[in-house]
């Protein structure tokens, strides 16, 4: 039986208004409402549920159900400030209740200890703006565990010798192995590496109201109609609503954070679905809108009190974007793998997580064995670069390769570069007449070098696996990003960070930020696990501050 949901009037001052209902916003909503606070979550996109998800790609993509709309919310891109930014779909994020966690791959690695202290270990890197985190892995470990158990992550503790310490095993076993996992595992071991079952935010065992994965194959890019993918929508948002103290308010396009004469935030201004403006009043505001929209909102909220943008006395809002470097190698095998079935990733390898700087670059990465081709993608770009593009030979190759191909996906470090990031486009507007998001980005040369090295290792593994044919995508500067990290970084120094270790804005006592923008380093990819662990920790910190009266005072 469905439960009546609580609703609040915008004029009613709630304890917290949270902007964004994705991986972080969903966790914060659940935790804070569970802790007794009254919470309103404002979400740009619609409130879709499992029944709305389908294997029909047209239903999802034609109606823009899951992601930002390139026409109503245009993005512009340039490589440097010397260039004029051009409209292009350079950024993708979720635009529905649950955010990007609805359509993501669900690869759920923890960061390692090194990720929090890498700057101290490596020192300054020319052209990069590296820093240590104000917290350590040990601070975050209990929250990683909480993510795994509460949200639902499948995996095998201790399977990777490179894993950081953990206090509990995974709550459920890994998903079944796929053909790519078997072939990759055998080849990697032959070369002396240590592959392990992929930790995935996808249920291998059913939970109340949620099915275990049915291996439908429509995972990456799709909402899960079985509730098996552990999106915020499927996991924490129902818990938040069940408290009776949390309202999820969809189709609410926040465009400004209201500030009172004392420099404290008073609520969030948003357009409803009819484009009527409302002010949701709140004692405190938490931005969890993602690493692009959170800085955009702060910049949109500039005022005479905050001329550079809200919470931007450091000038760091929107800077240091780290989208994670990546490259893909593909191999074709003799027998059908049929890896179009099931979730995407089957095996992961972290032997390259901390590479020797003597190789000529810093950082490291992880490899995974996966298959995430749709039939059309396989036909147009899933064949070797020298494959025929049309005709009988094209069809013959497609028929042979589609079921026999898998990818070794290399994910790695992005170094923070101060000139990389998001700002407001001076010319292009969104459908609401607001300045569009402008992305300025050029990979640090270090990251391209590292990806070239990783690509060569991936091809070696495919060789050892017995691939009949193999190739890789080129290592090129990125012009399209989905990991939106580092753009309002946390830190102890208000001059070099936007928020403190409690996720509180240095400049505004009752404003908190928690999403990909909070990260100080990029890890080696797969950031959502860490974003959620940060959100659980932030909720604890914010709860403690509120209970001590340190937010409203």
């Amino acid at each position: 039986m469905s439960q009546a949901r609580v609703t609040y009037k915008p004029s009613e001052e709630v304890d917290f208004v949270i902007v964004g209902s994705g991986a972080a916003g969903g966790v914060l909503a659940k935790e804070l409402s569970t802790n007794g606070f009254h919470v309103v979550v404002l979400e740009q996109g619609p409130y879709l549920r499992e029944k709305d998800f389908t294997h029909d790609e047209s239903k999802i993509f034609a109606q823009h159900l899951l992601t930002n709309h390139p026409e109503t919310q245009p993005v512009t891109f340039r490589k440097s400030s010397a260039d004029v930014a051009k409209k292009m779909p350079a950024v993708l994020y979720g635009n529905c209740v649950g955010g990007s966690s609805v359509h993501f791959t669900a690869n759920y690695w923890r960061l390692h200890e090194i990720d929090f202290i890498e700057h101290s270990k490596t020192g300054d890197i020319p052209g990069a703006n590296c820093a240590d985190w104000p917290i350590t892995y040990a601070d975050l470990e209990p929250y990683y565990t909480k993510v795994e158990w509460e949200v639902g992550v499948s995996g095998l503790a201790g399977a990777s010798p490179f894993d950081p310490p953990r206090t509990k095993p995974y709550p459920m076993p890994p998903l079944p192995v796929k053909g790519c996992g078997v072939v990759f595992e055998r080849a990697a071991r032959k070369l002396g590496y240590h592959p392990f079952p992929a930790p995935m935010a996808i249920l291998s065992q059913a939970r109340p109201g949620r099915s275990a994965c049915e291996n439908c194959g429509f995972c990456l890019g799709f909402g899960c109609e079985f509730g098996a993918k552990s999106s915020a929508l499927a996991s924490v948002i129902p818990m938040a609503e069940k408290t009776g103290r949390c309202e999820i308010r969809p189709n609410s396009y926040v465009h400004r954070i209201e500030v009172d004469k004392n420099g404290r935030v008073a609520g969030a201004l948003y357009y409803d679905v009819k484009r009527v403006v409302h002010l949701q009043r709140a004692k405190a505001v938490i931005l969890a809108a993602n690493g692009a929209e959170t800085p955009r909102l702060l910049l949109l909220s500039s005022s005479s009190q905050f001329p550079q943008g809200l919470a931007n006395s450091s000038g760091y809002v929107g800077k240091n974007l780290m989208p994670n470097s990546n490259v893909v190698a593909c191999g074709v095998f003799d027998e059908p793998l049929n890896d179009y079935k099931g979730f995407a990733v089957s095996r992961v390898m972290h032997d390259f997580y901390e590479l020797d700087p003597k190789l000529g670059f810093h950082g490291g990465g992880g490899l995974d064995a996966r298959y995430d081709f749709t039939p059309i993608a396989a036909a147009l770009n899933g064949l070797p670069p020298d494959a025929p593009k049309w005709g009988a030979d094209f069809k013959k190759m497609l028929r042979h390769n589609f079921t026999r191909t898998f990818e070794v996906f290399c994910h790695g470090t992005s170094l923070p570069v101060e000139t990389n990031g998001f700002s407001l486009d001076p010319d292009v507007k969104d459908a609401w007449g607001l300045p569009a998001l402008r992305m300025t980005f050029r990979d640090h040369p270090n990251d391209l070098k590292m990806m070239t090295w990783m690509k060569d290792r991936a091809l070696e593994i495919l060789d050892a696996a017995g691939a009949r044919t193999k190739w890789s995508t080129p290592v090129v500067e990125q012009e399209f990003v989905v990991h939106l990290l580092g753009t309002c970084r946390m830190g102890n120094d208000p001059k070099k960070s936007v928020i403190n270790a409690d996720h509180r804005a240095h400049d505004v006592k009752n404003l908190f930020l928690c999403d990909g923008s909070s990260l100080v380093t990029s890890g080696r990819g797969q950031p959502t696990m860490t974003i959620q662990a940060l959100a659980y920790r932030a909720a604890d910190r914010i709860t403690a501050l509120a209970r001590r009266g340190e937010i409203s005072a």
Partner: protein, 220 residues
């Protein structure tokens, strides 16, 4: 920007995990919107054309049938690709209609240049058709270099546009139009079922279960 002309890099992103979803979200909505309209026509026993003339449809059928020919399994013809494209040109790919209007005469011109006695592409033998298409694709590839140097130029030739449209019409989910009766999916070995159980393929059949390698402990 042509709604149906993904650049190579965008398709490379399709290979790369979440970026694939990104490309789809950015480029596919209009495509699949039209696919929905096309579905009814494609699924119908007597589909109707809404944009193309009978003559253009005959030429298009001949063209797409050489891009994805019929062999022992269905090709573009059996998948109803021309109906998918017809609806596309009425809806999401309206802006591509001029490319088709210009493209058909180009194909005819190339046909007559290479085979003077042949009245149309559809009237040519399949060998002749393949030679005409090869000639057009070779020219298109030369043009690619020019287009790369000038990003503001149209990003695709007619045959490249046609190739991409044909692949979409052949492989799009049938619920979205095209790929009639899963003809394309069946041809490439994609089981139309919506749920699967392991083992999925040959290599995972006899997998004994994950075991730590002897080297695990020495590494840490």
């Amino acid at each position: 920007m042509h709604s149906f002309q993904p650049a190579r890099r965008e398709f490379l992103q399709l290979l790369s995990g979440s970026a694939g979803a990104a490309w789809l979200a950015a480029n596919w909505p209009a495509l699949v919107s039209a696919a929905e309209h096309a579905h009814a026509a494609a699924a119908s026993a007597n589909p109707k054309l809404e944009v193309l003339t009978e003559e253009q449809a005959r030429e298009l059928d001949a063209l797409t049938s050489r891009i994805i020919p019929t062999d022992d399994v269905a090709g573009a013809h059996e998948a109803g690709v021309i109906y998918f494209i017809d609806r596309a040109l009425k809806t999401f790919a309206k802006e591509d209609l001029p490319s088709y209007q210009k493209g058909f005469p180009e194909v005819l011109g190339r046909t007559k240049k290479l085979f003077p006695g042949v009245a149309s592409f559809s009237a040519a033998t399949t060998d002749q058709q393949d030679k005409i298409l090869a000639d057009l694709f070779a020219e298109s590839e030369k043009g690619d270099a020019t287009r790369r140097l000038n990003p503001d130029a149209p990003q695709s030739s007619f045959v490249e546009l046609l190739r991409i449209h044909t692949v979409f019409g052949y492989l799009v989910d049938p619920d979205g139009g095209g790929n009639r009766d899963y003809a394309g999916w069946k041809a490439i070995g994609r089981d139309p079922a919506h749920m699967f159980s392991p083992p999925f393929g040959v290599y995972d059949r006899d997998y004994p279960g994950w075991q730590p390698s002897p080297a695990e402990t020495e590494k840490k």
